[in-house]
Symmetry: C2
Subunit: 349 residues, 2 copies
């Protein structure tokens, strides 16, 4: 489903067309060795005609931005703040419009006929960086690392709440990626349950570890370093690659090289290594893919039963909004990707 919804600039070509057809004559089902999900890699789909015209991005004015004067806009006071010269540069604060709320008691599960309902208890916080226009790749590297460091602090603090099972950290950049506010910000949501998608990955990772006595992500990194076709960049601490099983066109995963189950368990050097590659990956996407909207998010071990999940390997996934889930994806959970990850790595390198 290769089409940029409402955001291609100036009718630039659609980027799916970059895939050489002769390269993969037949499509493939690829099974994710961790999550067990299937993906259809179908390069020929990128060649089909498109009858819709794309439109330009419209940026929101700074004057109406609720993240410029935080107090005046009625935001909650920060729970964490990083200042420079007495001025805030980065804050973490509770979301004014939370999907989940923090309560003293753990959530109750209730049955209602055939249905099961659990109270929406959890944490929903925002991390906001000061500059209205500087998205993650444009931040000074010291601020990018500080963003990661503050995420780590929230992992450690929320971990003390025994009702919480998982903390999801993610970014929505641009309206087609689900951002409602243009000012750069990042979200933290702590949940009383382990989400099914995450649980499937833990299960796959545990099964692989049991069978092979090694971490599946470490083995994938070793395979990719040997093959040298899907690696985009690496430094002494981290590696960025176009996954063999890419759900979305131009998807990238960034791993710390040293095995570590938990984001908050990594050294500052490892966090810095990943932050540097996240910045360079997003900068390459902006330059090479026509400044797409994107999401990125952290996949890490849960807050509960930490020892049980030592087989897991935390990482960051980046998904530019080049494609949109259509009926087939909604109906089946299988993504059709028209762009070969080998091509992606070549382009973003």
């Amino acid at each position: 489903m290769c089409w940029i919804p409402g955001q291609a600039r100036d009718d630039k070509p659609v980027y799916c067309l970059l895939v050489p057809v002769y390269y993969l004559a037949m499509s493939q089902f690829r099974k994710d060795p961790v999550s067990g999900e299937w993906v259809i890699l179908a390069p020929e789909r990128g060649l089909r005609p498109h009858s819709f015209k794309n439109t330009k991005r419209v940026l929101a004015p700074k004057s109406k931005c609720p993240f410029e004067d935080l107090m005046k806009s009625g935001n909650w006071p920060p729970v964490l703040e990083y200042d420079e010269k007495g001025k805030w540069q980065i804050v973490v604060l509770p979301n004014k419009y939370p999907a989940l709320k923090h309560e003293a008691l753990c959530p109750q599960e209730l049955a209602d006929g055939p249905y099961r309902v659990t109270e929406g208890i959890g944490y929903h916080e925002l991390l906001i960086t000061r500059d209205h226009a500087k998205s993650f790749p444009m931040l000074p590297p010291v601020h990018a690392l500080e963003v990661f460091r503050l995420f780590g602090e929230r992992y450690r603090t929320i971990d003390k709440d025994h009702c919480m099972a998982y903390l999801s950290v993610f970014a929505n950049w641009g309206p087609s990626a689900g951002a409602s506010i243009a000012h750069p910000h990042y979200q933290l949501m702590a949940l009383p349950v382990i989400p099914p998608v995450i649980q499937h990955s833990y299960d796959g990772s545990a099964a692989y570890f049991k069978k092979n006595k090694s971490c599946v992500h470490c083995d994938i990194i070793a395979t990719e370093r040997k093959k040298k076709v899907r690696i985009i960049a690496e430094n002494s601490e981290a590696i960025a690659m176009a996954p063999f099983v890419s759900r979305d066109p131009y998807e990238v995963k960034i791993f710390p090289k040293k095995h570590s189950a938990r984001f908050e368990g990594s050294t500052e050097a490892a966090l810095k290594g990943v932050a540097v590659l996240l910045q360079s990956t997003l900068a390459a996407m902006k330059k090479k893919l026509g400044d797409p909207d994107y999401n990125f998010y952290i996949h890490t071990a849960p807050l509960l039963d930490q020892l049980k999940y030592d087989h897991y390997h935390w990482h960051v996934e980046v998904a530019p909004k080049i494609s949109i889930p259509a009926g087939f994806e909604l109906a089946t959970g299988i993504d059709i990707n028209a762009v070969d990850p080998d091509t992606v790595a070549k382009l973003l390198r």
Copy 2:
């Protein structure tokens, strides 16, 4: 994530605002009794400000449409055709840009280091209706039924191919729903594997049947008919409801009332009952929700081991493209829905 990407007309209000806040003070986790998926129902999220401006739909001209003169545009000859007065009204034909291809042999699974790959063998077909502008709700009812009848014929025919495990039938209407061509069309994709999302639903349905000796969907229908708050419409053969566990705002499910595992096993009366409700539901969405793009798709028993799946109950799911999956949904597989299904039923009734 309540925001209409690139398609709200004339800056009409965003429809999430319809939810009364006082109605559900706290958000809820709701667990789907069939698929086991979690959804967060968070009405307050619908009230947050939006700094992006929506844009208008741009319709493609008829003159460049590849589905007007099928032969001239290089399409494959139809495998099924419904004519009136010697002119085609509906055709089913192989997709010119297939995600999967039909081959004589069943697909092989290959191992490549930690990865597993299966050849992309299957069927990818289009059903095209004649009129360039008439989407499903605008079709003459006799054509709407004929569309369903032709789907049924393809289920029966492709079922004879023992390599195929599941046939997914779906519609993408409008660019934000993944359509690349504006001319109304529907897609059929037969797969050599049962997709994970479908498998989870079969598993949930089977577990419920084992425990309760009844069909989970039949019990949901009975519960909803008693509660009378989430039913949108019904006739003697079918029922349309806003699901208690709605992943997307304004999602609707339509069931045949008489238990039937397989779409192609239903009577013509049942197909007609469902087709009528699908037309009226889509017409109500067009009128009440500002003509959103949408997807709809059929969930039905697999092509293989049919007797094993008699507990299942086929149905149609309709998902208007009011929201977009953002970082949280991608990261966790949990959807955040800001619109209470009780409100949806009231609005679409």
